[in-house]
Amino acid sequence: MSAPAKLAYFVRTAVGSIVRSPFVHVIAVASLSLSLIGFGVARIARTQLDALVDSLGGEVEMTVYLAEDAPEAQVAELEQALAQRTAGEVHRVSPAEALGRLATQLGEDGKVLTELPDNPLPWSLEVHLPKAARDAASLGDLARKTRALPFVTGVDYGEEALERLTLIARALEIASLVVFSLVFLTAVIVVSATLQLAIFARREEIEIQKLVGATDRFVRLPFLLEGLLQGLLAAGLALGAVFALVRWLESGQTGLLAFARLDGRLVVQWPRLAGELVGIGCSLGLVGSFIAVRRFLRV
């Protein structure tokens, strides 16, 4: 028999078996796609949570207060050094600008500032810290060194907020690790379990095939194809479910997205997610049926 004819036979057998005993296959596909939905949701949630952490952190700035008689050359040098160390933008802020901002910031209380006889605020340098530089330890180090300079009267950088931000990021890391491993463990156990039971229910068929002279490969192939088909089907279902979930969230009924400041849109790379789901689904299906068929191949 030619290779395509043989393939056709195996596909026919696999599809036939799915049609004949839909029960076990429905269960396998259901548990597979539930695992994949879990994966997809976790995947999207992770991206969204990262955005959330950023939005919680807001702007992180370091302010360096300069002495009244700070020499221009050294200030320029410091400006450069800070820009280099933090890879951020550095602005020089005049006393008038600083007072204006302070007044705005204080709201009702800010009115008191207009009554000041003259501006008591010093010149300062404002460093906008990019994400990469928001590391509590190294910023602390930088602040200490800067504070030690003779023409610097003080350094503020929102220590507390920064530390909390670091903790949030770390907590999310751990939490997603726990959730991921739980989902993954469930997926592997459940999928290989259902497939093993599915094949257990067909050990008779395997036995008879072997008794009439089937090679191991001949016995195994339709099962592997079944696993593959189940994986594909499950991936399709999971993708549909995740898509529906995302649309539901985007419909704005939940307010979840407004919070994450995404203007009601989730940033999902659909082609990539689809690829991942299909890839994982097929591998789980294949590996599951491979393990399962091996257990019952010894006749």
Partner: protein
């Protein structure tokens, strides 16, 4: 893919050498772990083209002996030669190719309830990679020979005991095997059908297939006058090749 052992070939050897026997056993014993031995020191020589009855009381070891012949079990001791080939030296992966030359009718039929009767029969051909249409054709033809063409598209669950037995026989014969092992193939058949099925077996035998039939049916053994091996408690207590003519005479007398 490994080559099937072509020693099963029924064409006479061109080189003129003596063709090996179909089945030979030398001092074969079989014990299942933890149990007393089921077969003890069996010596056998079944030539190509022979028709053999295997008889003996329940539990004597008939099915076990057949299992050794198609490698469902391995001998605990002694040598089993199939078509001159020592099966002890056969690798696990060679077994399927050997089995393709052997048709087996199982005592408990072993039909798949999830497939139709025709698909069950075609199983043997599917394994060989036969094309789909041919599988169907040959299955139906074989079913006709056992009188079950009208049940082709039904589940074996819906068949009577005797019908199931005949489907099992059809499956064993559909790829025209060199060796047919039939375990109690008429145990669920009425006398008329038994004759029909036995005619089929002798017909198949006449075309070159070696046939081994395990049976309890004394009428069968008497009527067909073939070489008969009698097993008792795991040993061959009678091999009536020579006694055949004698018995025949004593009856006609």
């Amino acid at each position: 893919m490994e080559r099937p052992p072509d020693v099963f070939s029924r064409r006479p050897s061109l080189s003129g050498t003596i063709a090996p026997a179909m089945i030979q056993m030398f001092h074969v014993s079989k014990a299942y772990p933890g149990d007393p031995p089921v077969l003890v020191d069996i010596n056998l020589d079944i030539e190509k083209g022979e028709f053999i009855f295997l008889t003996g009381p329940s539990g004597a070891g008939k099915s076990t002996l057949l299992k050794l012949m198609f490698l469902a079990e391995r001998a605990s001791r002694g040598q089993v030669l199939l078509a001159g080939r020592n099966v002890a030296r056969l690798r696990e992966s060679g077994i399927p190719f050997l089995r393709r030359n052997i048709g087996v009718v199982f005592q408990d039929f072993k039909l798949l309830p999830t497939r139709t009767v025709a698909e069950n029969v075609g199983f043997t051909l599917d394994v060989l990679g036969t094309a789909r249409d041919e599988v169907r054709d040959r299955s139906l033809k074989m079913l006709r020979r056992v009188g079950l063409e009208h049940k082709a598209d039904v589940s074996p669950l819906k068949l009577s005991g005797g019908e199931q037995q005949r489907v099992s026989l059809a499956r064993a014969l559909v790829n025209d095997p060199a060796l047919l092992l039939a375990d109690e193939p008429t145990g669920n058949l009425d006398p008329a059908l038994t004759v029909e099925i036995m005619d089929l077996l002798t017909d198949v035998n006449a075309r070159g297939t070696t046939v081994v039939v395990a049976t309890h049916d004394a009428t069968l053994i008497e009527r067909y006058q073939k070489r008969t091996l009698r097993l008792e408690k795991g040993t061959v207590v009678a091999d009536e090749r020579g006694a055949k003519a004698a018995r025949l005479m004593s009856q006609t007398a």
